[in-house]
């Protein structure tokens, strides 16, 4: 693809943005006196900030460009990643799980596992999360550098160093507050970049009706316009596979696992100022999340209509949005969109680094390496770990630039650790009998289950291939979804079996961590002020689900 026609004015807008990014870090530094100020924003943020940061932490540029690519490849089935994939899990996190996380005062997701189960469970989850976070930070950085090179002509090493440098400055200075504030700012800038793009794009093809007519004439064709078409079990033709995989694998296991247990997400809610704000964090995030496909899937569809040979000689699918930017946006609007994209790249890395440093400081360093030091000490550890995390991220990015296939493979491997986590959490929170050793055994079994499905079962099961024939190409989506279901079942079965064979924790140790075991130190519910009706988690969650249902029926 051609380079963007960027002029001095666009660069000026970019520079203003970068000055503000550093300004946020400098200003947020005043608010840091303790390790919890640095690693959890002192649990002081209002719900609208944590709520927007909750989705922004996930709205990295890889996500934006990748979902537009999916829109071009798969059509509007891509909305499954939002409406069945994200929203129900976010509602569940806010209404059901957040009281256990926030109310028990844990500082991280691994710490919940430590209090609920035992040290091996804690280490298993803490270490895999820490390594995966750094890996993701590096992969984000590398992907960014490749796209910046294509768009602006900057060499790969330069954009890696510059982007990582800015992230380093604003997180080391401002801690989690610096990261979260930048995420929220980025959210608005990316909207200011993408909304004009969608409006102009739709206007130029003659509106939504005209766009769908033209999509029918592309290679994507009619199936690209239906979300649930072709998902029949037995003879699926939908690019995402059958409905069992979509509903159970993607919607239930993978999405609930990611949104409710991934610390990069949950950390945003833990930084909220009280339980009500923590509960509303994912719920407030759910509303923009419902409508983000309009800014990713529609550009994908526009690209497949407007850019000849997209996906082959017309450029990689991931370039759908940048190509539309170059085509439609005049200088000025282009600079804003570019600032949003660069900010999203940095946010994708910052979310990983700011959750990594918390897990490393509290869950690894404080619990296993240097216990019982002063808080000042752990604050400094947090800062040093942040710098080291960024440096490892940079090295990972350079390794990825040399061996990108190996990186894909390692990411696939780390996916196996994530797949079963939700099974362990749901049992942990609702079955007080579940024993300490059941925790780690379940996680290990689930990880093994996902790997076994991927490597041993899927290659020999024709149902996983396009057309369900032994000669068809394997469909990575349905394999991924079924592997997740396998992980969930393996985790649940082993957790239950081990529980029945070992001794449970005394109930008083589980206070506040498990459903039906209230924390005796928690305030009497009667003395807690009722939030106003518009802050009720059930109302907000119900509303989000209702909107998704209506939209799903419209785009059936």
């Amino acid at each position: 693809m051609g380079k963007l026609d960027v002029n001095w004015f666009d660069y000026g807008l970019l520079i203003i943005y970068f000055i503000l990014v550093i300004g946020i870090g400098l200003l947020a530094r005043r608010a840091i006196a303790t390790s919890e100020d640095f690693l959890l924003s002192g649990r002081s943020l209002p719900a609208w900030v944590t709520g927007l940061a909750f989705i922004s932490a996930n709205l990295g540029a890889i996500e934006i460009l990748g979902m537009a690519a999916n829109g071009a490849k798969y059509g509007i089935s891509t909305v499954h990643y939002y409406w069945i994939g994200a929203v129900p899990a976010m509602v569940f996190l806010g209404i059901v799980m957040m009281p256990f996380y926030y109310g028990s005062r844990v500082r991280s997701v691994p710490e919940y596992l430590l209090r609920r189960f035992n040290k091996p469970t804690h280490l298993f989850n803490g270490l895999t999360f820490a390594v995966a976070a750094l890996l993701n930070a590096g992969v984000n950085l590398y992907a960014m550098a490749v796209i910046i090179e294509a768009l602006l002509g900057w060499p790969v090493w330069l954009s890696i160093i510059v982007a990582a440098g800015f992230v380093l400055i604003y997180i080391t200075l401002g801690g989690l507050s610096g990261a979260i504030y930048n995420e929220v700012l980025q959210f608005f800038v990316i909207l200011a970049g993408l909304i004009p793009l969608v409006i102009v794009g739709l206007h130029s093809v003659g509106g939504w009706g005209e766009l769908t007519d033209r999509v029918k004439q592309t290679a994507l064709g009619e199936p690209g316009l239906s979300t649930w078409g072709g998902t029949a079990v037995g003879n699926w033709t939908n690019p995402l596979g059958d409905w069992i995989g979509i509903v159970m694998g993607l919607g239930f296991v993978l999405s609930f696992g990611y949104w409710t247990t991934n610390f990069a997400e949950v950390q945003r809610a833990l930084s909220a100022k009280d339980l009500s704000a923590a509960q509303r964090t994912p719920l407030i995030g759910a509303f923009p999340k419902i409508f983000i496909p309009a800014l990713t899937v529609i550009p994908g569809l526009l690209a497949i209509v407007l850019i000849p040979k997209l996906g082959t000689t017309g450029g990689d699918y991931n370039t759908a949005i940048p190509q539309l930017m170059g085509r439609f946006l005049p200088n000025g609007a282009l600079g804003i969109a570019l600032a949003g994209l660069l900010a999203a790249f940095m946010a994708g890395m910052a979310a990983n680094v700011s959750s990594f440093n918390t897990v490393f400081t509290y869950d690894i360093w404080q619990d296993y390496i240097r216990k019982n030091r002063s808080d000042k000490y752990y604050l400094n550890v947090g800062r040093v770990v942040t710098v080291l995390g960024v440096l490892v991220g940079i090295s990972t990015a350079f390794i990825a630039s040399g061996f990108s296939n190996i990186m894909d493979y390692i990411q696939l491997l780390f996916g196996f650790f994530n797949a079963p986590v939700f099974a362990t959490f749901i049992i942990a929170m609702f079955w007080k009998r579940a024993t300490p050793w059941a925790g780690v055994s379940g996680l290990a079994a689930g990880t093994a289950g996902a790997a076994a499905f991927q490597f041993l079962i899927a290659p020999h099961w024709a149902y996983m291939n396009a057309g369900q024939s032994p000669d068809g190409t394997p469909n990575p989506q349905i394999i991924n979804f079924y592997a997740a279901m396998m992980a969930f079942v393996a985790d649940a079965v082993v957790t239950i079996v081990v529980t029945l064979a070992t001794t449970p924790k005394p109930v008083h140790q589980l206070a506040g961590l498990v459903w039906g075991v209230p924390d005796p130190n928690a305030p009497d519910p009667a003395t807690v002020k009722k939030p106003p009706i518009y802050e009720s988690p059930k109302l907000l969650g119900g509303l989000a689900i209702l909107i998704v249902l209506v939209l799903s029926l419209i785009f059936l």
Binding site: F9, L13, I16, L20, G23, I24, A28, R30, A31, I32, A33, T34, E36, D37, S41, G42, S44, L45, V49, Y102, G103, R105, E111, L114, R115, N118, K119, H122, S177, V184, L185, F188, V189, A192, P196, I199, V200, H203, S204, D274, L275, R327, F328, L329, P330, N331, G332, A333, I336, K371, N372, D375, H508, Q509, N521, A522, P523, D524, V528, K529
Partner: protein
């Protein structure tokens, strides 16, 4: 942090009452202060600035610059955006967003630092450290 111990001591009843009193003061479900930090440095989180002013500032600057720049847009630039005078519309919309954020921050200012939270004696914390 995995082995909680029983709340200890003879003065449990006094502490119980003290705790209930302090809960009544705290009208909201406030989480307990972290045991590690009791008697140590106080959080400075209340000094965090209001993000709404920052968003308003950025959108204000962008809005003004884009609106001015849009008067110098050539016809080619307008044609590129399918005939929409994009920089002008985007600039004005960003100014509107700027006004909304400053207005919101003015109508609902960020709360001043809360006067001292009721403190709970360390013995009453859910014990955590080994």
């Amino acid at each position: 942090m995995s082995e909680p111990t029983e709340p200890s001591g003879s003065s449990e009843r006094d502490e119980e009452r003290e705790r209930r009193l302090s809960r009544e003061v705290a009208s909201r479900f406030e989480p307990r202060p972290d045991p590690e930090h009791l008697g140590k440095e106080a959080s400075a989180s209340s000094r965090l600035f209001d993000l709404r002013l920052m968003i308003g500032t950025l959108f204000g600057i962008y809005g003004i610059l884009l609106t001015i720049y849009s008067f110098f847009d050539s016809q080619a630039e307008i044609d590129r955006a399918a005939g929409i005078h994009l920089n002008l519309w985007l600039g004005l919309s960003m100014l509107l967003v700027c006004v909304i954020f400053f207005g919101w921050a003015r109508l609902q200012p960020q709360k001043p630092p809360e006067p001292g939270e009721p403190t709970v004696p360390p013995e009453n914390q859910q014990p955590t450290a080994e």
